[in-house]
């Protein structure tokens, strides 16, 4: 068997496990991805003579509920991880389920927002405002779905690892949490950029 070191113990130099180091690097690349898209938004907007006001085109109350849902889910995922630290796998499941529930709320609301726009004839081809709105929130939505799959796996079949190697499992949950915070953070930038400003 291959014995790869620092799978569940931090490396003395960097102070993190392999997985946590990896997830930070991955998030760095994600910052560049969304950074490029936000730059695109800025360039398109500053180059446009009649950029619409987000609050008149989009539904601010719904997005506010979504913002609250995502921020709360960031809290619950931390609580899920903290439960593992306190050796309480049962509470971990409860908090993970709450996290998933809140992300589902986010997606359902987003679904209604999207279909509402389509009904009113607003598509990516309508204007660059809607084009960049659909692209960025859509990509963010895909990130939410990816995170939900991981979280559901960790809550369900993935949690079998808890018995064999609790430390490694806690590490995995922590990595999922870091990713989830990032996705949350992106939304915190998206919300004002599209809905408020």
């Amino acid at each position: 068997m291959i014995v790869i070191p620092y799978v569940d113990k931090p490396h003395p130099l960097t102070g993190v496990t392999n997985a946590k180091f990896g997830i930070w690097l991955f998030l760095a690349s994600e910052v560049m991805l969304f950074g490029a898209l936000f730059s695109t938004l800025i360039i398109l907007r500053t180059g446009s003579a009649n950029w619409p006001l987000g609050s008149t085109e989009l539904n601010v109350p719904l997005a506010t509920i979504n913002t609250i849902a995502l921020i709360t889910s960031s809290v619950t995922i931390v609580l899920a991880w903290a439960s593992l630290k306190m050796q309480q796998i049962g509470r971990f499941r409860v908090y993970m389920a709450l996290t998933l529930l809140l992300s589902a709320v986010f997606l359902v609301i987003k679904y209604f927002e999207y279909t509402h726009k389509f009904e009113h004839g607003h598509f990516p081809s309508t204007s660059t405002f809607f084009a960049i709105y659909f692209t960025m929130t859509g990509l963010h939505g895909i990130h939410i779905i990816g995170g939900m799959i991981v979280n559901a796996y960790l809550m369900g079949p993935g949690s079998a690892m808890w018995k064999k190697n609790p430390e490694q499992f806690t590490g995995r949950v922590e990595c999922a949490g870091l990713y989830w915070h990032f996705v949350d953070l992106v939304w915190i930038f998206l919300f004002p950029s599209f809905y408020l400003l």
């Binding site: 790869i4 392999n18 991955f26 490029a36 081809s125 204007s127």
Partner: protein, 578 residues
């Protein structure tokens, strides 16, 4: 090499599929990358040979091959303008994204980085396997696009809009393929960095790591941070093409005499910024691994420590860092204004400094050495002046005033090919010849290798050197028929010279193929695990290295290039007594 694999670890023999197809062993994955990449290199090279025929003999049938091509590509054997455009775009794409990077990073990096730091495998072996297969899917998509009705992408490897947005379906395939290739690079670079930082064996401090490892680490950071913006740009272009958005389409665009029915309001220059934000760092992705290989080969064959080992490392790191701030030197012609131009001219001049330092340290290493002129060393020695020509001819392109004249001419083609062809490719050849005995346990044929080197060396200069003169005389790149422009027809003699040299170059590669294929199965077996008397860790293990590289983890006691300090002549890193 299979029989060696089951060492004393007591693991079972794996089936063929687990072992050679869905393997998680970094060495097998490295070989998979290398073989796939070399096939793509051959394919991309073959495409450009057809193009060179068209340039040398416009409107005459391509010998032999022309008859086999479909009507839309070669009419009566004569290359069509559309197919010319296809070749231009796909040669560039394939060479860069499916050839050189997968070979230098995916192949050499995968195979050597874990061994050279004394690790048993990559930090995430399954992720490593995934990145190969994601790369493979990307390659299949690119290759399959040749068989689409309408053919593959034909908008240059740069895919500038608006042309690329209104172009045929091949461009959509190109974008999809790129999304896979980018994803694969991202997975790979995370793996490389974590392995290089966390899995170093005992005693392998950062300043005892071989330069090859340093080069791979810097490269990985570039891939990690520069590729995502291109992924974003790719997604935006896909939106434009598939969902009719106008990210890159300005208002009131007229195509074929008709106003496009799109919302407009987009910005074509935006694509160029996003593209070059990747594509400039990408040129360092193309060259850094070659620096790493050449450094290893030079140290081994000069029997001397690398001159200024730490300086070289700092230069590579600085080079990597600066490469994020020079991208718009490709865009002087877009009218971005003097302030921006000045900024990017200045950064471009600054970034040439570390490149020169790297070259100088390698050159000074040769000083006073009793050089072993092995085949890999010949390629490594040729690399130095070739890269120097490529680099120095880049300076005028980094100054807006000169670039206005030289932009989009054959001068540019000559410049960057000196960097990537006799530069990087020669570095890669050096690497293949150097590590071949370790990977296969057999030696390559020296006479064939030397023949391969000398013909390639002469021919490749014949291909690219004339391009400088043509470019300065104003010959544009991407021209289908040189004879219809008076100033281009004027230099047709040089075009013919360049084309025939490229055919000779092509023929010489059969020597290489014959050599490595024959030697892999029938070559002379190596008697020692360390045939070149080298110091780094890959030579400290069995040949070929067993499944987990080292039966017991090694400890490292000294820097990577301690040559000539003891009567033996070299001090391997893992031996306590030098």
């Amino acid at each position: 090499m299979s029989s060696h694999d089951s060492h004393a670890q007591g693991h079972h023999e794996m089936g063929f599929i687990r072992k050679w197809v869905f393997s998680t062993d970094h060495k097998v994955i490295g070989i998979q990358y290398a073989v796939t990449a070399m096939l793509f290199l051959l394919f991309g090279f073959f495409l450009i040979l057809m193009l060179r025929w068209q340039l040398a003999h416009p409107n005459t049938a391509i010998p032999i091959i022309g008859g086999f091509l479909p009507e839309s590509w070669a009419n009566g054997g004569v290359m069509t303008p559309d197919f010319y455009n296809v070749i231009g775009a796909m040669h560039g794409t394939i060479m860069v994204f499916l050839g050189v990077v997968p070979l230098s990073v995916g192949g050499f990096g995968n195979y050597l980085l874990p061994i050279q730091v004394g690790a048993q495998d990559m930090a995430f072996p399954k992720l490593n396997m995934a990145s190969y297969w994601v790369f493979f899917i990307g390659g299949v998509i690119m290759f399959a696009s040749f068989f689409l009705p309408g053919g593959p992408a034909a908008n240059g490897w740069t895919s500038y809009p608006p042309l690329s947005v209104v172009a045929q379906n091949g461009q959509t395939m190109w974008l999809l393929g790129m999304v896979f290739l980018i994803t694969s690079s991202l997975l790979g670079s995370v793996n490389f960095i974590v392995t290089g930082v966390q899995l170093r064996t005992k005693g392998m401090s950062f300043f005892r790591m071989p330069l090859f490892v340093w080069a791979q680490l810097v490269t990985s950071f570039l891939l990690l941070l520069a590729f995502p913006p291109l992924e974003a740009a790719g997604v935006l272009q896909l939106m434009d093409r598939v969902f009719g958005s106008s990210f890159f389409l300005p208002s009131g665009l007229i195509v074929s005499g008709e106003k496009l029915t799109v919302s407009g309001g987009g910005n074509p220059i935006l694509w160029q910024h996003l593209f070059w934000f990747l594509a400039h760092p990408e040129v360092y992705v193309l060259i850094l691994p070659a620096f790493g290989i050449v450094a290893e080969v030079i140290a081994t064959n000069t029997r001397k420590p690398i001159y200024g080992y730490q300086t070289l490392i700092y230069s590579m790191v600085f080079l990597g860092f600066m490469s994020f701030f020079v991208w718009a030197h490709h865009m002087f012609m877009t009218g971005m204004g003097t302030n921006l131009s000045n900024f990017f001219q200045a950064t471009t001049m600054i970034i040439s400094v570390p490149s020169v330092i790297i070259l100088t340290t390698l050159l000074l290493t040769l000083w006073g050495a009793s050089i072993r002129y092995t085949v890999p060393m010949l390629f490594a020695l040729a690399f130095l002046p070739m890269f120097a020509i490529g680099g120095l001819t880049g300076l005028p392109l980094g100054l807006a005033a000169a670039d206005i004249h030289l932009h989009d001419t054959y001068y540019v083609i000559g410049h960057f090919h000196y960097v990537v062809a006799p530069g990087t490719l020669f570095g890669l050849f050096a690497g293949v010849y150097h590590w071949f005995p370790k990977v296969t346990g057999r030696k390559t044929n020296v006479a064939l290798g030397k023949l391969h080197f000398w013909i390639s060396f002469l021919a490749i200069n014949g291909v690219f050197f004339p391009m400088f003169f043509q470019g300065m005389a104003g010959v544009s790149r991407r021209l289908y028929d040189p004879m219809v422009y008076a100033h281009v027809a004027h230099s047709q003699g040089l075009t013919v010279l360049s084309s025939y040299c490229s055919f000779i170059l092509g023929a010489a590669q059969f020597l290489f193929l014959a050599n490595i294929i024959y030697s892999a199965f029938k070559g002379k077996k190596v008697e020692s695990d360390n045939p070149w008397e080298s110091t780094t860790l890959e030579w400290a293990t069995a040949t070929p290295p067993p499944h987990e590289n080292f039966p017991t983890p090694l400890e490292v006691f000294r820097g990577p290039y301690e040559y000539g300090l003891t009567p033996k002549g070299y001090s391997p890193q893992h031996l306590q007594e030098a």
